[in-house]
Symmetry: C2
Subunit: 597 residues, 2 copies
């Protein structure tokens, strides 16, 4: 079916249900960033494949909101459809709620699948539309009617992450969560975020590509631990252990009923920013809601000493694979036909040679030339191009290993660069190095440090339209909170101080539409440094071990301190990787990491 | 009366009133930062003269809370008293509310003069003490009973700031404020902050030393403008003009009655963070309160083009006076007896030679050697020391001129310095220059930029226990909000983006107790720079025009860019000041501002 046929069909169904608008967000039932195939309703209805975006369909028009990472990709993918692209955050672009308020009449109804949006999302719209007495109906999944060949819900097997990797048993984790519940006098904790559940249970699954989680809900009380999931996904041994430890498994679909049956007079802790609308609507009126972030979010972000140790090991493995990839790419781009898709395949092959490699932690971005300017470009057979021995290849790639998760971006010079290309590369690199070298006092957040990465670009009157850094899960989502590096904090959100054990990415970039893109990303681990009269100092230890491209660097634009940072990092990379490389690769890496004066 | 006698007397009065605790804050009835002599109850009762601090007296003990600027000064001034010093924000130091909760029994009463605290302050305590059913009584000013020689309320004459300086008439300002009221559907606006009232009316007064405001309250409705103030402070011409413009003057003391008489069913806009507790208690139950920051705060912070232009002129005048002062001090410290108090007098004399000079904008800090480590030290006859031709003199001084207000800190080398002194001076200077050179996109706040000033110190494992920057009023308070430069934002406070027309100070420092202090402060004006696809850029224009001390600089610790910033600034200083200097001074300034390689 063509996109416009699907929209026509949807509008018929909207008519039947008296919906004046229908909202199709990206989310699954768990507010996941990436979703399983069953949940790709927005992609199915709009043709836009990005990981963030909301489609709003009215009777006479339709629009899709997405963020800066996807402006170029969405414009391309929506071309030829009747769906208007709304570039979120740009001047003169209305918010979804403003668009609805403007275009809908009084007392109309907005429909959506209430399992795919949060209560907070609905409230945000309501704040704007209430004056027109517009109401909501979250009970109908209209896309399901149109989408006859919809894939089934995923039920991939669950596996256990050994405590030697996790560093803390699920009993201990549950004990800590219950202590937090007690502090807040909460009788029940409702957790629906899949990575929180996987982290708490030291279990991993396969229900979302690149994010080893399993479809489930958790209801935790002082006495009971109830996991709502498809029972068949648990291997027998795991099921036995869970049962021994007092965990009850109930069918995935029964969560609504369980929420509806919460005992009167109790207090439930849930986060209306992640729990889906339909579930929050089921909380009985006589149950008090404590609406705040789940205690698991911060616990999960602060890695255990074992997780930190294993993360370092995973990054050396990944560093070997990515360094080999860069060596191969720079050597062969002029000798054989190398396309983006082909290069992505080569990298996957090199990674799979590393012991303990599991899968990519997100769709590899191998973007040549102008494709590099599309922030979250992922090559497809349709978009694929051959790379030549000039300009940049931007590779933003990551993997899950038995020991942890990686996420790295390198921008690779495939031949002689122009002075301009080198100048911009060096500027982005200066930002990356400045943030990576940050030393700061306890209490400081990523909001305070972002200027270090952006400063060199701001100085040139340039910027990038994405955050500088995100947290990274331990064999979970490659993007996780609550910490992040961005000067701006979303309204209502809190600035989260960096703590020892937190991992963040350090990834400034520069994108020149139609020309090229540059992004340089290391993961760094927040560590405690000296403590003295002035306070407890923290610093960032680099986890990523892959050289920057010396052929793209103009040392004369860098300060001595910046060069010193670069040389020190390169020396560290050489020491970490060389024992795992063959002689030729070693020789090459030695050259790539030699001191720059 | 000795401090302990005063406390004994207070405890008797507390007993008579059944108060288990009595709180004496620094505030006047208007939450002013500095207060008139009538209001110096905390100073009278404790002996501590700093501009911030709260005394809490119980039957068996007493404690005084103050912030990092005053730790050393308060420790010195409380020595020998029974008052315990509480260093706010330090580890293991309880907050006032925690102290009260811990030390008071159930159902006890906390007393205070309800005009000298805000509702928010009382609520913060209540959040902690409510569980013990502790109540508040804000109706008694017990200090007034003890303080028999209390100075009267100040009634200094009001003068008018010509619209050619203010850049906007009071009619226009009131119109803008009323438009904001309309947006918020507020029927009344209650303004009690003295600088807001002075700004709105383009009037200045003399009721607080260094802050040219007049004691008053404002009640603004759609139709009426009622100013509660002592009528005798208005010169006849001003009184006539105000009357012509529809302003009603009522007695200062009648504000409580006016608040109590607000019509039922109306909505009053007030900020419970500045309006005093007793006034907020008088708002009738059937009047809705819109509790948020007054619209005047942001309007006042964004200077008009006329204010910006005049501010530059004021800073050149002040630059001439301060530069002459530095020249004099460095030349004469070894030739004659120069004490801190004497030097402060000399500076005041030099300033008063400048046309349009009004008064200091705060008590001059002239701090020699170890005194420089006391962040808000002000020399007194008792503390005064003679300066020698070695170490640093820290001079943090400012003035009100007919054209605007200045605030500058220079740390002056009085003789040969040690390498360590130079290293630290250079480090602080690097922070000052980095922040001053910041270029950033619209939306960025001081919270995002603070790291630029602190970074060089953090790198050495050092820090300073005060904000990096504050707003500055236009012939009003030398400290004003809402913008500020600090990585930390107080809980509940908002991060305020910098806008064109805002002035902030740029004043990193370093304090080594018992040895010396370094602080380098320029005022900078936020300006719009280029606007392109990446956004609207902003930059900071230096207002302060006084050279840094080249004898304290180690150029080898600075990057080329930092040296370039310094040289460019010095060239600008020379060009601005030299036309106003005599030949000898010119020659000296030429040397002081010569290029450093």
């Amino acid at each position: 079916m063509r996109i416009d046929e699907k929209l026509t069909r949807l509008r018929e169904l909207m008519n039947e249900n008296s919906f004046s608008a229908y909202i199709i967000p990206t989310d699954d039932f768990h507010s996941s960033e990436y979703v399983g195939d069953y949940f790709k309703a927005r992609e199915y209805m709009s043709g836009f494949t990005g990981s963030a975006g909301t489609l709003v369909v009215l009777q006479d028009k339709a629009a899709l909101w997405t963020d800066g990472r996807y402006f170029l990709q969405a414009a391309r993918q929506l071309q030829g459809s009747t769906i208007e692209l709304m570039r979120s955050g740009q001047p003169d672009v209305p918010k979804i709620e403003e668009y609805l308020e403007k275009n809908l009449g009084e007392k109309t109804v907005i429909g959506f699948d209430g399992r795919t949006v949060t209560k907070r999302f609905v409230e945000t719209i309501g704040d704007k539309t209430d004056a027109k007495q517009i109401s909501f109906d979250g009970s109908k999944d209209l896309v399901d009617v149109i989408w006859t060949d919809r894939p089934p819900l995923s039920k991939k097997p669950v596996w256990e992450l050994h405590v030697k990797y996790a560093g803390k048993s699920r009993e201990d984790k549950i004990k800590e969560v219950r202590a937090k519940m007690q502090e807040e006098k909460a009788d029940q904790l409702l957790v629906t975020a899949l990575d929180e559940i996987a982290w708490l249970f030291n279990l991993r699954g396969g229900d979302i590509a690149h994010t080893p989680v399993f479809l489930s809900y958790l209801l935790l009380t002082k006495e009971q631990i109830t996991l709502f999931a498809h029972e068949e996904i648990f291997p027998v041994q795991i099921l036995e252990r869970l049962t021994q430890e007092g965990v009850t498994i109930k069918p995935y679909e029964e969560i609504g009923q369980a929420v509806g049956n919460m005992p009167a007079g109790t207090k439930v802790w849930l986060d209306s920013g992640t729990v889906n609308y339909r579930l929050t609507q089921k909380v009985p009126k006589d149950v008090e809601i404590l609406d705040q972030e789940s205690p698991i979010v911060l616990m999960k972000a602060v890695k255990t000493p074992e997780e930190m140790r294993h993360m370092r090991a995973a990054h050396i493995k990944d560093g070997v694979a990515v360094t080999r990839f860069i060596h191969w790419l720079k050597t062969n781009v002029d000798r054989e036909t190398v396309t983006e898709v082909g290069a992505a395949g080569k990298l996957e092959m090199l990674r799979s040679q590393m012991e303990g490699y599991l899968e990519p932690s997100f769709s590899s971005i191998i973007a040549y030339g102008p494709h590099g300017a599309i922030v979250h470009y992922a090559p497809t057979q349709e978009s694929d191009v051959e790379m030549k021995a000039k300009s940049f290849c931007l590779a933003d790639v990551g993997g899950h290993y038995q020991e942890g998760t990686t996420d790295i971006t390198r921008t690779i010079a495939l031949g002689d660069l122009t002075e301009e290309e080198k100048r911009y590369y060096t500027t982005v690199l200066r930002g990356n190095l400045a943030l990576g070298a940050a030393k700061f006092v306890e209490g400081v957040s990523g909001q305070n440090l972002d200027v270090l990465a952006r400063g060199p670009l701001w100085e040139l009157g340039m910027d990038y339209n994405h955050g500088t850094g995100h947290g990274v899960g331990y064999i979970l989502g490659v993007h996780e909170g609550p910490q992040r590096i961005h000067w701006r904090v979303a309204p209502g959100a809190k600035s989260i101080p960096l703590e020892e054990g937190m991992i963040v990415s350090d990834e400034p970039g520069l994108y020149l539409e139609g020309r090229f893109g540059i992004r340089l990303e290391n993961l760094v681990l927040c560590r405690k440094g000296e403590k003295n009269d002035h306070g407890q100092f923290l610093y960032l230890e680099p986890l990523t071990m892959v050289p920057f491209d010396r052929e793209a660097i103009l040392p004369e634009l860098m300060t001595e301190k910046e060069l010193e940072c670069l040389n020190r990092y390169h020396q560290r990379v050489y020491e970490a990787l060389s024992p795992h490389l063959d002689e030729e690769e070693q020789g090459w890496l030695k050259e790539m990491t030699a001191r720059i004066q």
